[in-house]
Amino acid sequence: MSRDVVLSVHDLTKTYTGKKPFVAVDHISFSMHEGEILGLLGPNGAGKTTTIQMLLSTLKPTSGTITYFGKDFYTHRSETLQHVAFASTYIQLPHRLTILENLNVYGMLYNLSPAERKHRIQKFLTFFGVWDQRNKQMSDLSAGQKTRVMLAKAFLAHPRIALLDEPTASLDPDIAHEVRTFVLEQRREYNVSMLFTSHNMDEVTEVCDRVMFLQHGKIVADDTPDNLARSISTATVQLMVGDGMKRTIEYAKKHKLAHTIENRVMNISLDEQHIAELLSGLAKVGVEYTQISINKPSLETYFLYLAKQGRVVKKENT
């Protein structure tokens, strides 16, 4: 069954004018479906934050259109944002206000009734374990607590779409796990669609249904995390060689395999399909290894591959 498109972006461009005009976002088009979690990845300066700011109307695009729920965003801004939430590690809530005061203000901005505000604020703060801190000023909270309050703010009005800009950056692993659990729960319970940016590739693989890679303002890849990882076939075989290091090096050289050696550990990069052939080949020449690990291509491998390519392209252009 096809799901409804809740966000559609067409030919979106942002050019910063000045002495050196700079195209931050370059004619991107994509759509997001109901209940979908879409990862927006890319190296620093790729245009992720600029895109999110345009999706919030806090930055005016140079050209292109944004359509939420089938309606043009710029002509229906206020009514659209009633259903769109935003949370970012890099944006703060007023630090001299308490948690309760901040959430109360945001509840009012989303037109929640006093009873709804009270109920939902208690529900989210309890879920995130900060209900006891509710009368503390934001400036007295840890980074993790601030992030959790920010997420509570974002989901207070039960949005249909959430734009989450690195919601787990600088969080301890247990808190980051809690945030991921919350995000997935919101999707399961309320069918919320989410645009999710992160520098943690494992997290993106865990949370996102689909991933878009931005590079120099352009979308250079758009697929599921698994498919993207599979498109890079290079795996790394790590061998702790017990006996036959010389023979292993000779074998790698003979078969033109990229390799590095560090403290009797040899890393060999090769096509995933040739791993079995390598291992049997090494056995034939009598190499003994005490430990073996195979790093299969992941989203991170793909990210590194694209980032490397991007740097090469940039160098060639300059």
């Binding site: 919030l56 206020s78 970012s88 007023p94 206000l97």
Partner: protein, 223 residues
């Protein structure tokens, strides 16, 4: 326009007011200090020079009136800066809040705080010097309205520069009002200004308020 959202932004700044001693100081402490310093100075001048009738009342009324302009201007630009200092501007405008609603809210906060400052100022003048600023009669109301509107204008002008230049030019929030003060003839008549300054003075609405106030106090006639 949504009244609920306007009230939300108003409440946000009123919460800050509760937690922030410096905002309370701005609103009450400095006006009272000005009134004390200027009040005793003008009383001294008046005692020495009988040819200056109502000088104390004129200067103190001017002082209280200038606080109205200052507060209206200050609230607009400092409330914008407050959001910038807190990195909260994107948060605010990622909600259904409309720019016009935000503007209405900061004007409302300015009005509420101005009423408190005005009350404190009028009370302090009466308590310390037994002078009544309401001597100018019903003219008081349009004067206050005009001064508020002028202060808002200065605040929005300053805020536009802050939006363009960011916090690097935040000093505009404190200096913009005073840029207009010498030309508004707050404490002296326009006639003492050089001719070129008088030309600027005549295009400022604030000038007419301060000139009218002095005329009423000196002659009792409404200009």
């Amino acid at each position: 326009m949504n009244i609920g959202r306007i009230w939300a932004v108003t409440i946000r700044h009123l919460y800050l007011f509760i937690h922030s001693l410096d905002r309370l100081t701005d609103m009450v402490y400095w006006p009272i200090m000005d009134i004390i310093l200027w009040g005793f100075t003008t009383q001294y001048v008046q005692q020495r020079n009988v040819s200056l009738p109502h000088v104390a009342l004129a200067i103190l009324t001017a002082l209280v009136f200038w606080q109205v302009v200052w507060r209206a201007n200050y609230e607009i630009s400092v409330n914008l800066l407050e959001e910038m200092w807190n990195a909260n501007l994107v948060n605010m405008f990622s909600t259904p809040l409309k720019p016009l609603e935000w503007v209405s809210a900061v004007m409302l906060i300015g009005l509420l705080k101005m009423l408190i400052t005005l009350g404190v100022g009028v009370g302090a003048v009466w308590f310390l010097y037994s002078l009544n600023i309401f001597t100018i009669g019903w003219l008081f109301l349009p004067c206050i309205a005009l001064l508020m509107a002028s202060g808002w204008f200065m605040g929005f002008l300053g805020s536009s520069f802050i939006i363009i230049g960011g916090t690097r030019v935040q000093t505009i929030a404190w200096t913009m009002g005073f840029l207009f003060a010498p030309f508004s003839a707050v404490f002296y008549p326009v006639s003492v200004l050089p001719v070129w300054a008088q030309m600027i003075s005549r295009v400022l609405p604030t000038t007419y308020v301060f000139e009218s106030m002095r005329t009423v106090l000196a002659t009792g006639a409404i200009p």
